[in-house]
Symmetry: C2
Subunit: 406 residues, 2 copies
């Protein structure tokens, strides 16, 4: 049985690293705060007797030997990076619960058949470097090494340089660490478990996700002395696109979601007509066919808006991650574990993307969800209760042991 207080203490201790006054965390990937939480994790897995390696993308793999070390390890884990104004549970819970599982087995002197592994995937959030799930995507071969290294943040710093700067670029190539299976515990980040009073979400899959970057290029000019008829205002088509993206989601209600989350206006001065506007578009749907239709609608809306705007522009796909169905054996291990602990559970499809999506290409994979208060995530007020975290870690332990015994 895992020790809930120890898990909670680790959550609250690491929450100090990049902790913000509002109770959230700002720990952008490959930042100085990320370096500090990596050092914390390195010390913690060493203290738990594990062996740590890391790959070309800075993904960290901590291994606890099993009886049969010829078997590929069963992995647990998630990510330690956060949103710019993130909460205390998104990602961190999955890594620290993996650590808690190891600590519990150490306390009990219990040896598994296969080795166990706790993983911290780099840049899951995709806020500093888009797309999201970049470290696990690079590991799984979805993105090439050069693609990953070449991604740039809003200040023009590349992923490769930022990784080098914090000293976590390793030698392991993509797929260089064998994985027998992966179980990722995560907060739901949505309202369903709470609304239905369930303790555990048995995650059967993840909806598809497409990201785009849109740019409009007009002409910066004086707001006072430039007549309306002579303007090339890049912000007007941007406003239209924001509305069009929202309308596309509503046209595929209730399952579709579509959002413009990032807008940058240049030169962004009160008395200058916007010369350039950049936006990101995020669209998702559980069915790939519907997502493809939404993609087509986005392209035609963009073309229509651009044509009527008098400015130039472009729409570039940034990532396209198909919907994923998780492994039936892994799912069964989670269902059995929840039942054994007497927890209420339901099957659920993840609205958020996760590293498990990419790892599912390489190995049997699934996820375990615990409730998010008010369905809120990517927000400092993100909240999952002590007992809920502990219940999730217990199911993680039991699912891993169940899968290992198989």
């Amino acid at each position: 049985k895992i020790r809930g207080e120890r898990l909670w203490d680790s959550l609250m201790e690491t929450a100090q690293i990049g902790g913000t006054p509002d109770g959230g965390i700002r720990r952008l990937t490959l930042s100085e705060e990320d370096a500090r939480v990596r050092a914390w994790f390195q010390a913690a897995v060493a203290a738990a007797g594990m062996t740590l390696s890391h790959d070309l993308f800075g993904n960290m793999f901590a291994v606890r030997p099993g009886k049969n070390n010829a078997l590929p390890p069963i992995a647990m884990g998630s990510h330690l990076d956060t949103q710019p104004t993130g909460g205390k549970f998104d990602g961190v819970l999955g890594v620290l619960a993996g650590l808690e599982v190891i600590r519990t087995l150490n306390d009990a002197g219990l040896e598994t058949e296969a080795p166990l592994m706790v993983v911290n995937w780099t840049n899951e959030e995709g806020s500093r470097f888009s797309p999201a799930m970049l470290g696990s995507g690079g590991f799984a071969g979805v993105y090439s090494v050069d693609q990953v290294n070449g991604r740039r943040d809003s200040e023009g710093i590349s992923f490769g340089d930022a990784l080098e700067a914090i000293g976590w670029r390793g030698d392991l190539p993509p797929k260089g660490q064998p994985i027998g299976a992966m179980f990722e515990l995560h907060i739901e980040q949505g309202p369903i478990l709470e609304a239905e009073g369930k303790d555990i979400g048995i995650v059967t899959g993840v909806q598809g996700l497409r990201w785009y970057e849109a740019v409009f290029e007009g002409r910066a000019a004086h707001t006072g002395s430039t007549p309306m008829a002579l303007r090339k205002n890049a912000l007007l088509p941007a406003a239209d696109l924001i509305r069009a993206v929202d309308a596309i989601a509503h046209a595929h209600a209730p399952d579709a979601v579509a959002t413009v989350g990032h807008v940058s206006v240049s030169p962004n001065s009160n008395n200058v007509i916007p010369g350039e506007v950049r936006l990101t578009v995020d669209m998702r749907h559980p069915k790939d066919a519907v997502l493809a239709a939404m993609d087509a609608e986005l392209h035609s809306a963009f073309a229509r808006i651009l044509a009527g705007s008098g400015v130039s522009g472009g729409l570039t796909p940034v990532s396209d991650v198909a919907a994923v169905a998780f492994d039936p054996d892994c799912i069964r291990a989670v269902r059995d574990a929840a039942e054994r602990s007497g927890l209420s559970a339901r099957e659920i499809v993840s609205g958020a993307g996760h590293d498990a999506v990419h790892i599912a290409r390489l190995a049997p994979t699934t996820m375990i969800f615990v409730p998010s208060a008010g369905g809120l995530s990517h927000n400092p007020a993100e909240s999952t209760a002590f007992e809920e975290c502990a219940a999730g870690a217990q199911v993680l332990l039991d699912a891993v042991l169940g899968y290992d015994r198989r």
Copy 2:
């Protein structure tokens, strides 16, 4: 006769201070670059034998004695700060042409009746600290000392602290420097003079101007796992407001202009529903009554958008500068000067705001415009030809001498 090359050399020399690779200038008010251009100006007026003082707002007054120093000085000048991506002429031309007038009179050994003065007004642009024309507004008593000092930039730094930091806070109180009259040479920043092939704009007044800050507060949440029906997306009403502001200008065509120039989205992450959006609104019209109508339309559009949005928000006026008619005697001095030089000229109302607007409350004031290529300003590509700058400086000299002889 002024020396066009000397004026041009000074323009190009100061353009290095904050100069950008695209030929523009980034010299935000009270920045390190502003401190450097102030030091340049200080040295230049000292070399021209002038006496420099500065006031509580960092406005700089360089005086050349006249025959009768009991008379208040006739002022020339404008501002040395620029937009974040500004050009080489906006503001700078008016200050350096004033300096060129003094240098010309020194060369000719000519003494005026009244003393002459060259002024550099602080924070005319209003990009770093809104509103625009803040230094001249403080000097004229339009804003209190505390109001000016309390304005904050987007990083939270106050005007007062920034002024202190560059060492240019003086003792002179508002209206502490007597002014007999003011002539401000400036680029038109609009397309009219060029389109009509005129050398000189005899500026009869400046249109009215109102600035506002709008904020929408929704709830930051995950873009993938938050159903459309549960969202509070602050960016959707912001998009509607951008469109509404544009529509208000079109409803009062052809003279009205209205623009959202600045947008800041928080947390501005690809996969976070925008939790807070701040925008600025800039509306102008030559007739105060029309501008008042536009103000009412903005408030009702804002209320309507807010009511339908499910988010909270507010609309705050930041500045309200009524339309100004310049002094007939000053205007006549400019018209006579243009005629004497054989330059083509037309009367014109300024679309942009200028320090002259506030100084017109204290003393007879007017402005002289020279053409802007393509009507473009607040853009690194802003361009006024050598001969046009020289012609403007010549008219400035002649207008000041004509007014002084009166």
